[in-house]
C-alpha cells in the first residue's frame, strides 16, 4: 500500500522553522532571528505572485524539512542558506534580512545570486515555492487551485487522497 502519512509528523513541524538562527558578523554574534520569518519574506521577494494569489508557500517548507524522501543534505542546505542570507544582509546593510526595506533586500539577492551557494539557494527556495503553489492542494499550498487557475491548468484525476510524506 502507499506509504501513509505519519500523523505524528504534523506535530513535529515546529522545530527548525520557529527556532532561533544565530546570525554571525565575523566572529561576533550579531542577531537572532527565526527561519520562518526569513523564508516567508524571501519567498515573497522571489515570487510575489504566490502571495497575490493568496497562496501560503512558506509553511510547505516545513513539509520539506521533515520529508522522508528529501536528503539530509538538501535539508541542511535550507538551514545554512537562511543563516548565510542573513549574514550577507548584515554584511551589506548592517541588519538582518527581515529588517531591511524591499529595495535593500533585492540588493542582497542580487549579490548572493552571483555566488554558487546563493544561486542554488534561490533556485531551491523558488522550486519549493513552486511545489507548494502548483502541487496538489492537499499539501496545503495551491489554495483552491489558485496556482493552477493562474496558468489555466487542470490537475490530473484522480487526485491524491493524502499527502505522500
Amino acid at each position: 500500500m502507499i506509504t501513509r502519512l505519519n500523523s505524528r509528523r504534523i506535530f513535529l513541524k515546529a522545530g527548525f522553522l520557529s527556532s532561533a538562527v544565530f546570525v554571525m558578523s565575523g566572529c561576533e554574534l550579531f542577531s537572532i532571528t527565526t527561519s520562518e520569518e526569513t523564508i516567508k519574506l524571501l519567498q515573497s521577494d522571489i515570487f510575489p505572485k504566490a502571495k497575490e494569489l493568496g497562496i501560503n508557500t512558506s509553511s510547505y517548507v516545513s513539509i520539506i524539512l521533515h520529508h522522508s524522501r528529501v536528503s539530509n543534505g538538501d535539508k541542511a542546505f535550507i538551514k545554512n542558506g537562511v543563516k548565510w542570507l542573513n549574514e550577507e544582509a548584515v554584511k551589506i546593510h548592517k541588519t538582518t534580512y527581515v529588517k531591511l526595506l524591499s529595495t535593500q533586500r533585492q540588493e542582497v539577492l542580487k549579490e548572493i545570486v552571483k555566488t554558487e551557494w546563493g544561486e542554488n539557494f534561490m533556485y531551491n527556495m523558488n522550486s519549493y515555492l513552486f511545489e507548494a503553489m502548483f502541487g496538489d492542494p492537499i499539501y496545503g499550498g495551491n489554495n483552491r487551485e489558485a496556482g493552477w487557475k493562474w496558468l489555466q491548468f487542470t490537475g490530473g484525476q484522480p487526485r491524491p487522497k493524502e499527502m505522500y510524506l
Binding site: 500500500m1 502507499i2 522571489i46 505572485k49 502541487g135 493562474w150 496558468l151 490530473g156 499527502m163 505522500y164
Partner: protein, 550 residues
C-alpha cells in the same frame, strides 16, 4: 514445494506467472516492492515525480556508477551522493506500471545484426539465438492478452505480422497530429500511429483509457495501461509475497535449491521450488547472480562463462523539442494546440535502417509526444533567461505565464541501438552495502561512438518535421547518457555456453532449473523501447517451462 518461484513481478516475470498459474501449477512471486490496486494510483506530481514514491530511497539502496571518460579513466559516482538513480519501479508489476506504453516490435534484422550489418569495431555484436519468426506469435499474443491499441499502416519498414491489425482500435489523438501528418507528407516521410499498450475501450475485464493527461511515470487508475499487474497478475491466482528482497540463490552443481529473501523489517526467509525464474530487471538480476557465488560457482551463480553482468545495454539516442507559439497560429490552431488529454501518438521508422556514404547502418525509431504535463517541472524549466541568468520576481512570473498559457512544446525521443561493449557491464562492490547488508550493484557505463552518430542522423530528421510544422526553438540532445528505464543485457542468450549465460530458451547453461526472463537475455537491444519484447519473450519461455513441468 512450489513448482515455480519467480523473482520480480514486472514484465519479465509476470507472463510466466500468468501462464503457469492458469495452467494449474503452484507459482510464487517474490517482489521487493508493495502491491497496489487501481484505487491507490493518483496524479500526485509531488509524490510520484518529485519524491519518487515508487522507487527505493537512495540512502537505503543505491548503485555505484563508473562513467567512462575519453582518456580511458572512469569517474566514480555514489548513487546516494550524486542522486543518480537506476531504480525504475519497486512495486507489484514493476516499472511496467509507470511506462508510457510505446509499443514497437523488433524487426527481423534486429535478430541478426551481425549477419546483416557486419562487425563493428569495439562492439560485441552477435546474432540472436532465435529469429523474428520464432517470436512473432508471442508478439501477437501480447497484443491480445496485455492489450495493444493502434492501426497498422504498410510503411516500408513494417515488420511481418500474423494478424492484419491490432486487436484494439487506436487511441484518440490531438488535432496537432494532423499538422504532423501533413508535414511528413510534404517531406516524404511515412508518419505512423504509435501502437500503445493502452486499451482504447473497455476490454479484458479492464476499463478503457479515460485520457487523464498523465500517463507516463504514473500508475494507471483505470487499468487501461497494460502493466504486468493490471493485465496479468490481477488475472491469475498466483501467490505474491511483497516486501521480499531476494539477496541470494543457493545451488548445488546442477540446480538452484533455494531463494533467500529478507522482509521489510530484515527477517530472513527461504523458499524452495522446482524451477526458479529470475526477472529483477537487468542490473539487479546480474547483481543477484554475482552475489550468489558458492563453491560450485565461485565467480557467481551461472557464471562459469564469466559473462554474467557483461554487455549491459541501454537505449541509445536522445530527445529534442520544438515550441508552438500563439503568435504564429490562428485562433482555431491555438485551441487545437491547447487541447489536453488526447494523445499525440506518432512515430517515424523510415530510417530503421539507412545508407550513408555507401554504408548500411542500423538506424532506429523516433516517437513524438507532447511535453509531459507535470506542471511543476514545466514551470521550473522557465527559471533561467536566455542568457542563463536566474530570474525571479515579476519578470519570472510574466515569463512563466506567457510560456505556459500561450505556447506548447512537442517533443521527440530517438531510440537506436546501444552497442554492447566490454566497457559497459554490471559488477558488485563488496565494500558498499545496501540496507540489507548486501553488496550493491556497480554500473559501468560506456557508449560506443556509433550510437551517437546514428542518433544524430535520426534527430536531424525529427528536427525537419518540427520545423516544417512551424515550431520554433527547435533543439535536441543526443548523448551517451543512459536512460535508466531502458536497460537490458547482462545475461545474454546464445548457443555457446562459453560466450553466453543463457541458452536459447533463457535457461542458464550452468543450472538446469534456473531461467532469466527479464531483458537481461538480449544480446543486442534493437531500436525500440524494450517492454513488448520482454513480454513476448517471457510468454515464449512460459511455454517451454510449461512443457518441462508437464
Amino acid at each position: 514445494m512450489y513448482d515455480v518461484c519467480i523473482i520480480g513481478s514486472g514484465a519479465g516475470g509476470s507472463p510466466i506467472a500468468y501462464e503457469l498459474s492458469n495452467a494449474g501449477f503452484k507459482v510464487v512471486i517474490l517482489e521487493k516492492g508493495k502491491n497496489y490496486s487501481e484505487d491507490d494510483f493518483s496524479k500526485d506530481e509531488l509524490g510520484v515525480s518529485r519524491r519518487d514514491m515508487f522507487t527505493p530511497p537512495l540512502n537505503e539502496q543505491k548503485h555505484i556508477i563508473n562513467e567512462y571518460n575519453e582518456d580511458g579513466t572512469f569517474t566514480r559516482y555514489d548513487g546516494e551522493e550524486s542522486g543518480w538513480s537506476f531504480w525504475n519501479g519497486s512495486l507489484v508489476g514493476g516499472s511496467s506500471n509507470l511506462m508510457s506504453g510505446y509499443f514497437h516490435r523488433l524487426k527481423p534484422n534486429d535478430f541478426k545484426l551481425k549477419s546483416v550489418y557486419g562487425e563493428i569495431q569495439g562492439a560485441n555484436i552477435v546474432d540472436w539465438a532465435i529469429s523474428y519468426e520464432e517470436l512473432e506469435p508471442y508478439y501477437a499474443k501480447v497484443e491480445k492478452v496485455v492489450g495493444v491499441s493502434g492501426r497498422v499502416i504498410n510503411h516500408k519498414q513494417q515488420e511481418p505480422r500474423s494478424t492484419l491489425n491490432f486487436p484494439y482500435p487506436e487511441l484518440q489523438t490531438n488535432g496537432v497530429t494532423q499538422w504532423f501528418d501533413k508535414a511528413c507528407d510534404a517531406l516524404g516521410y511515412e508518419a505512423m500511429p504509435t501502437p500503445r499498450a493502452v486499451l482504447s475501450q473497455d476490454a479484458l475485464k479492464r476499463r478503457g483509457c479515460y485520457y487523464s493527461n498523465f500517463c507516463g511515470s504514473y500508475g494507471c487508475a483505470s487499468g487501461a495501461k497494460g502493466s504486468a499487474r493490471a493485465a496479468l497478475l490481477q488475472k491469475c491466482e498466483v501467490e505474491i509475497i511483497t516486501d521480499a528482497f531476494v539477496y541470494r540463490l543457493d545451488s548445488n552443481e546442477s540446480k538452484v535449491t533455494k531463494a533467500y529473501y529478507y522482509t521489510k523489517l530484515g527477517f530472513p526467509h527461504s523458499i524452495e521450488a522446482k524451477i526458479f525464474v529470475l526477472a529483477a530487471q537487468a542490473i539487479e538480476s546480474s547483481r543477484l547472480l554475482l552475489n550468489s557465488k558458492n563453491r560450485f560457482y565461485p565467480a557467481g551463480l551461472a557464471n562459469s562463462s564469466g559473462e554474467v553482468g557483461k554487455n549491459l545495454i541501454f537505449s541509445a539516442g536522445g530527445s529534442g523539442t520544438g515550441r508552438f507559439i500563439f503568435e504564429n497560429l490562428t485562433k482555431e490552431q491555438q485551441d487545437e494546440l491547447m487541447q489536453v488529454g488526447l494523445f499525440f501518438n506518432r512515430s517515424l521508422q523510415d530510417w530503421y535502417d539507412y545508407e550513408d556514404d555507401g554504408k548500411k547502418y542500423k538506424g532506429g525509431t523516433i516517437d513524438f509526444l507532447f511535453e509531459h504535463q507535470n506542471i511543476i517541472s514545466r514551470v521550473q524549466r522557465e527559471m533561467y533567461d536566455d542568457n542563463g541568468k536566474l530570474l525571479w520576481g515579476d519578470a519570472l512570473a510574466e515569463k512563466i505565464h506567457k510560456r505556459i498559457t500561450t505556447s506548447r512544446v512537442l517533443s521527440f525521443e530517438v531510440f537506436n541501438d546501444w552497442l554492447p561493449t566490454d566497457k559497459c557491464f554490471v559488477g558488485v562492490d563488496e565494500n558498499v552495502l545496501d540496507k540489507y547488508g548486501i553488496p550493491v550493484g556497480v554500473i559501468n557505463l560506456y557508449g560506443h561512438p556509433q550510437d551517437l552518430k546514428v542518433g544524430e542522423h535520426l534527430a536531424k530528421k525529427a528536427v525537419n518535421v518540427l520545423k516544417k510544422m512551424g515550431a520554433v526553438e527547435v533543439d535536441y540532445s543526443i548523448s551517451a547518457s543512459p536512460p535508466a528505464n531502458l536497460v537490458a543485457g547482462g545475461c545474454r542468450f546464445g548457443k555457446n555456453p562459453k560466450t553466453s549465460v543463457l541458452d536459447k530458451n533463457c535457461k542458464t547453461h550452468d543450472l538446469k532449473n534456473l531461467y532469466v526472463t527479464d531483458a537481461s537475455f538480449m544480446p543486442t537491444g534493437g531500436s525500440v523501447p524494450y517492454t513488448w519484447t520482454i513480454y513476448a519473450n517471457s510468454f515464449r519461455v512460459a511455454d517451454v517451462i510449461k512443457k518441462e513441468l508437464s
